[in-house]
């Protein structure tokens, strides 16, 4: 299917090693192919928007990258590491962080503790056992709180947050992890237009030092990001290019944007 070497599609120089390399990934559930020979290459420092109809396989793709779902076939490499051989924790340790489509936070921990747990640190039990929270960590956590505008909720249990607030907290958790690659599933869902703009800002800033894959249905948001767009459909890539380019593709209009 789409197994052709994809490295050239992005126009990256051959010499440069891609950060993330998905090739011919297929995943099926009880016979239904959620991913069907999906290939995608992400360069270091790149931000990529992924769009596509509901059920196209965007979330499943993230599941594969983060080790939640094992692909039936295909290759998934993060630099030299073969993602299909690692479990969630190991992949996270490699530097891949994720925000889920449905916000998931530690409801029984305070907002602040949520961030504290996410801060980049040695995660081995033996280390954690004797770790004490240093001032610098507090500062970082508080900084992130400020950034996601939850300072007022610092001591509240995360379970008490509204839907939108949880979205923000999850973004905060992602930031705290300082991952090299951020996978962001629908960050603008449930946000007001103004908040969406701020999110755009935030992602841009992050992208200065890190790579990002973002999934979103909000075209205004995607447009504002102004990055290369990959359109998924039925588990494989339908189109790729600038938003301008793909949104004029009749197939994309047909299956996704509508008339």
């Amino acid at each position: 299917m789409n197994a052709a070497p994809v490295a050239t599609i992005g126009g990256t120089p051959e010499s440069m090693q891609p950060l993330l390399y998905l090739d011919g990934i297929s995943v099926s559930f009880d016979g239904f192919k959620a991913l069907n020979g999906l290939s995608l290459v992400l360069d270091p420092g790149e931000m990529r928007a992924v769009i596509g109809p509901n059920g196209a396989g965007k979330t499943t793709m993230m599941d594969v990258i983060t080790g939640k779902t094992r692909p039936d076939s295909g290759k998934a490499m993060f630099r030299e590491a073969d993602l299909t051989q690692l479990d969630e924790a190991e992949i996270a340790a490699l530097g891949i962080g994720r925000k889920f489509q449905k916000p998931t936070v530690f409801e029984m921990h305070s907002v602040f503790d949520n961030l504290l747990l996410a801060l980049k640190a040695d995660r081995r039990p033996s280390r954690v056992l004797f770790a004490s929270t240093r001032a610098i960590e507090r500062e970082r956590a508080d900084g992130i709180l400020e950034m996601v505008r939850l300072t007022g909720m610092r001591g509240r249990m995360a379970g008490e947050l509204s839907h939108g607030q949880k979205q923000w907290l999850e973004i905060g958790i992602l930031l705290a992890q300082e991952p090299e690659l951020l996978l962001v599933d629908e960050p603008a869902a449930g946000m007001t237009d103004a908040e969406t703009e701020q999110t755009t800002e935030l992602l841009r800033r992050i992208n200065e030092t890190r790579s990002v894959i973002v999934v979103e249905h909000d075209m205004t948001f995607v447009r504002a990001l102004a990055v290369k767009v990959t359109v998924l459909h039925e588990g494989s890539v339908l189109a790729e290019g600038s938003l301008e380019h793909v949104s004029n593709d009749p197939r994309v209009i047909e299956v996704y944007l509508g008339r």
Binding site: E107, M108, R123, I173
Partner: protein, 378 residues
């Protein structure tokens, strides 16, 4: 949470209680019997039993309250620790057994065992036995946990296989061919480290030792749960998979805590046996493990203090009720369990310390505080 509110000094205070209490009771029991302050031996043994149970309850609370592992087989670790101690005590009997065999315990003599099975070797040394008291439960928990956590067995599935484990052990220890005394278990103990077990001073010493261990482990558990480590544990309890995505190797955390908790339970069992004077396979009965869980729930899950309080209160109630209302005590005890569940959702401790903060909790969180939802919807 509650012990979080206790703060460091509060916790130290709590930790001091078992130790102080046992020292006091232990010393008072040594006074002459006609002294007004004399504590009868009966009370010493009872208290010792309660506190040994409290240690078991503490170990259950650590895994259940903080990591969400509802172990219905912790009694097995308790019993294994008890058996290790029992084997040492058996070997101490020496030629004072009824058949006077210098090596073989009585039950082996009368069932015609010719020689001591290999797994009894070494138990004549206290150091070895002490090692086994933590090692055997620990190793079992490690192997079991390694397999279970690696393949991500969780929830009721884990609960039920822990139950299967203790049930299988019970059947195995019931077998006379196993060489652990079958149904009658190990009994007729004479002395421990050279001290006569029947002597008042030995009993007092054992009691104080139990109190000391309990205090010590309470503090250790407090540290485990209050530190960053404890926060990770609670995160695992509430959202295991999310924790993984943050890069925590969940199975290692679980394994560590589970194994540690099993060792703690083993020590509890080892302290229990010389005070009670018998260890037999009924300690492995699934119902016993369930009871331990219930002590924790009655006292207040996830509070450490609650588990100890629950163990003491439930067992104290049992002592009193079986003596005073032998015909209806089950109604009272069963009723108590129902009452606590319905009207004290955070257990006895929750009633005292958490009342104010509790009321201010939003309903949803309140629910979560008292138990994780099995169902997808809630």
């Amino acid at each position: 949470m509650i012990s979080a509110r206790l703060g460091l000094y509060g916790s130290l205070l709590v930790a001091a209680v078992p130790l102080a209490l046992t020292i006091a009771v232990g010393l008072l029991s040594l006074l002459p019997a006609d002294s007004a302050l004399h504590v009868p031996g009966y009370v010493v043994t009872l208290l010792g039993k309660y506190l040994a149970y409290a240690l078991l309850a503490l170990s259950v609370d650590l895994v259940w309250g903080y990591v969400g592992i509802l172990s219905l087989g912790h009694g097995a670790f308790f019993a294994l620790g008890g058996y290790a101690m029992g084997m040492y005590l058996m070997r101490q009997i020496g030629t004072r057994g009824v058949y006077g065999d210098p090596v073989l315990p009585d039950f082996m003599v009368f069932l015609n065992w010719q020689e001591l099975p290999w797994y009894w070797y070494g138990f004549d040394h206290f150091a070895f036995a002490a090692l086994m008291i933590v090692l055997v439960p620990g190793a079992l928990a490690f192997v079991f946990g390694y397999l279970a956590f690696r393949s991500r067995v969780s929830g009721v599935y884990l609960s039920i296989i822990t139950q299967a484990l203790t049930f299988a052990l019970m059947l195995a220890f019931f077998r006379n061919d196993m060489g652990f005394g079958g149904n009658n278990g190990l009994t007729d103990f004479k002395d421990l480290l050279g001290a006569n077990l029947q002597a008042g001073s030995t009993k007092a010493g054992l009691l104080i030792a139990t109190g000391a261990f309990l205090s010590f482990f309470f503090l250790v558990c407090r540290h485990l749960t209050q530190s960053r480590f404890g926060k990770v544990l609670i995160a695992i309890r509430d959202a295991e998979s999310r924790t993984r995505f943050l890069g925590y190797r969940v199975e290692r955390y679980k394994l560590l805590v589970f194994t540690f908790s099993a060792m703690m339970a083993g020590i509890g069992g080892a302290l229990y046996v010389p005070q009670i004077g018998i260890i037999n396979p009924s300690e492995f009965e699934p119902a016993n493990s369930i009871e331990a869980v219930i002590w924790v729930a009655v006292g207040g899950r996830g509070t450490l203090v609650g588990s100890m309080v629950g163990a003491v209160i439930v067992n104290f109630a049992k002592t009193v009720l079986t003596g005073t209302f032998p015909e209806i005590w089950l109604f009272v005890l069963g009723g108590l369990f129902i009452f606590v569940t319905l009207f004290m959702p955070r257990g006895i401790v929750g009633l005292f310390t958490g009342l104010r903060t509790w009321r201010s909790q939003p309903a949803k969180v309140r629910k979560q505080l008292t138990g994780r939802a099995l169902e997808a919807g809630e």
